[in-house]
């Protein structure tokens, strides 16, 4: 199983009443990706956001830069808001980055759970579903073109394309995932299309998502392309430190800030510490603890969902950069090998 990290860029706190510069967040993010590669982490995702606290507005740029300073780690959007972007541009950017990386770049397509990009790029939230489906269709077609094939297309939300060459093309198509926050229709959509799926689970308990993952698999088997093998990953908040209590106390502070800030626009309330503890243990969605606990909970998630990848957002709410880097180290050097060893044991015995 793959173990990964994802980030929206995370500014540092300059003062009690002031956030640090967004430029620092970008530099820190690149450093974190390079570090993750060295520590053996399998995947690093960059999620498109347009705020003064989460400033990674251009995942493809960061991914392309990261591609040139890393050797093994897979890189991808997590997510890119396809709805408010141009699929031709998106394909060009990610195909270019993929070539630079030697085939390590993936694309996780999102509709936009944060909707800042809609007014920013002049799109209407009323078109939320239709925009996404049309653009996803177009992106998938671009991804499957033969080399030097002329491409034509017409649709509703983007000007027509007439006998165009779409370049550059790598040797292998991009791996394209569909991201979802758990609504049933997205799971069905991914299954029918035969796309691997990434569940963003930011709260609650993992078992609550089992039915909708089952729905994805059923849709894939019953209505998906012939022979398509469903593939599931989950993206969750997380944090590792040497000491479990320290991990939980530290992450709580920064997580609380994030949830209080996001909750105002997304319609959930800031969690209490009690609620956080409930979600940060056992079957909860927050993978926060020392290496032992992380290993156990990751293996449980693997058993529950049959996931091929789990990836963690650890830098939130101005998490100090050195703590983030150390968490990456623990993840790659301690947690990952033990998880894979345990999964291999279970497979042998079971």
């Amino acid at each position: 199983m793959e173990i990964g990290v994802y980030s929206f860029g995370d500014v540092q706190r300059e003062r009690a009443d002031r956030l640090g510069p967004t430029s620092d967040a970008i530099i820190n993010l690149l450093e974190a990706i390079k570090h993750a590669d060295k520590m053996g982490v399998d995947f690093f995702g960059v999620g498109e956001h347009h705020t003064e606290y989460f400033p990674a507005s251009s995942p493809s740029t960061i991914i392309a830069a990261a591609a040139s300073i890393t050797k093994r780690i897979k890189l991808g959007s997590a997510v890119s808001v396809l709805s408010t972007d141009d699929p031709v541009r998106v394909f060009q950017q990610f195909s270019t980055a993929n070539i630079i990386s030697g085939g390590r770049v993936e694309y996780i397509a999102g509709r936009g759970s944060s909707t800042e990009s809609f007014p920013l790029f002049g799109y209407d939230l009323k078109d939320y579903d239709e925009l996404y489906n049309e653009k996803l269709d177009l992106l998938l077609r671009l991804n499957l073109l033969d080399k030097n094939e002329d491409f034509s297309w017409t649709g509703k939300f983007r000007p027509s394309i007439e006998n165009a060459k779409i370049v550059p093309q790598g040797d292998v198509p991009l791996k394209i995932w569909l991201a979802t926050g758990g609504n049933p229709s997205s799971s069905i959509n991914a299954g029918i299309r035969g796309l691997p799926i990434a569940y963003a689970i930011i709260g609650g308990h993992l078992s609550r998502f089992k039915p909708v993952v089952d729905l994805y698999r059923a849709a894939a088997y019953q209505q998906g392309p012939e022979g398509y093998m469903p593939e599931v990953s989950i993206a969750v908040p997380g944090f590792v430190a040497d000491d479990a209590k320290d991990a939980k106390d530290t992450f709580w502070r920064h997580w609380h800030w994030t949830m209080a800030t996001l909750g105002k626009v997304r319609g959930f309330s800031a969690p209490t510490r009690e609620h956080f503890d409930y979600e940060a243990n056992g079957d909860g969605a927050l993978f926060v603890g020392g290496p032992d606990e992380m290993v156990e909970r990751i293996v449980n998630a693997h058993e529950l969902f049959g996931i091929t990848r789990i990836f963690f957002q650890m830098d939130v709410g101005q998490m100090p950069h050195d703590r983030f880097l150390h968490a990456i180290e623990l993840l790659g050097r301690e947690v990952k090998p033990r998880v894979n060893k345990r999964i291999a044991e279970l497979k042998k015995n079971g």
């Binding site: 909707t115 939230l125 009323k126 069905i188 609650g204 308990h205 729905l215 319609g267």
Partner: protein, 211 residues
């Protein structure tokens, strides 16, 4: 009304959670989305066993209670004639960052449910189920009579309807708190203290009386 039959409009996360909860509590539940009956068969078999899909015109004839669990802008797609005389639970929220701006709702200072009621002549509208996150409906449900259960507020102008809504809230695992007429829905809309707050009945009452 012993166990009213429930028709849920909207099969997204909230609609699905309500269908599961009410069906699990022994109610007969039908559900529909904008894509139609046939689009729901897989979702029903895996997420909502025991719940049936029913086209909207048939549902409004069949169901004793209709729950609107769709994005607010989309309620205009429902023919108001279908809801004339029906008990309608408005579980919708006015939520511009998520669903876009609606000038009519921006201009109105009262509860979004009052505007909904105004646009659904003859419907017996009650506001509830809008202020709980869908995931928490399942995770925080507790049996009737459990002390200090999480409470779900309701607001409406019709006492019979309020009794029925209270019964459904109780059955799905939460303590109903009647906050008054439909106008009092303003107390548990987005950006209020009560919205998505995990509170008991007495905590809600204390908060409301304080302000």
């Amino acid at each position: 009304m012993d166990k009213p039959s429930i028709g849920i409009v909207g099969a997204g996360r909230l609609g699905t959670a309500l269908a599961r909860g009410l069906s699990g509590a022994g109610y007969e539940v039908a559900i529909i989305n904008s894509r139609g009956v046939d689009s729901l068969s897989l979702q029903l078999s895996i997420l909502m066993p025991g719940v049936r899909a029913m086209a909207l015109p048939e549902m409004t004839g069949w169901a004793d209670v209709i729950i609107l669990a769709i994005p607010l802008p989309r309620y205009k797609e429902i023919d108001p004639v279908l809801l004339n005389g029906k008990i309608v639970i408005d579980a919708m929220n006015y939520w511009p960052p998520v669903d876009g701006k609606l000038p009519e709702f921006d201009a109105y200072s009262g509860s979004s449910s009052e505007l909904v009621a105004r646009n659904l002549p003859g419907a017996r509208v009650i506001k509830t189920f809008n202020s709980v996150a869908y995931g928490e409906l399942e995770e925080q449900a507790l049996p009737s009579g459990t002390p200090n259960r999480r409470a779900i507020p309701l607001a409406g102008d019709d006492n019979e309807v309020k009794n029925i809504a209270s019964m459904l809230i109780d059955a799905i695992g939460f303590e109903p708190v009647d906050l008054g007429g439909l106008a009092y829905g303003v107390l548990f809309q987005p950006d209020t203290e009560l919205f998505n707050a995990r509170l008991t009945k007495s905590q809600i009452i204390n908060l409301v009386h304080k302000n």
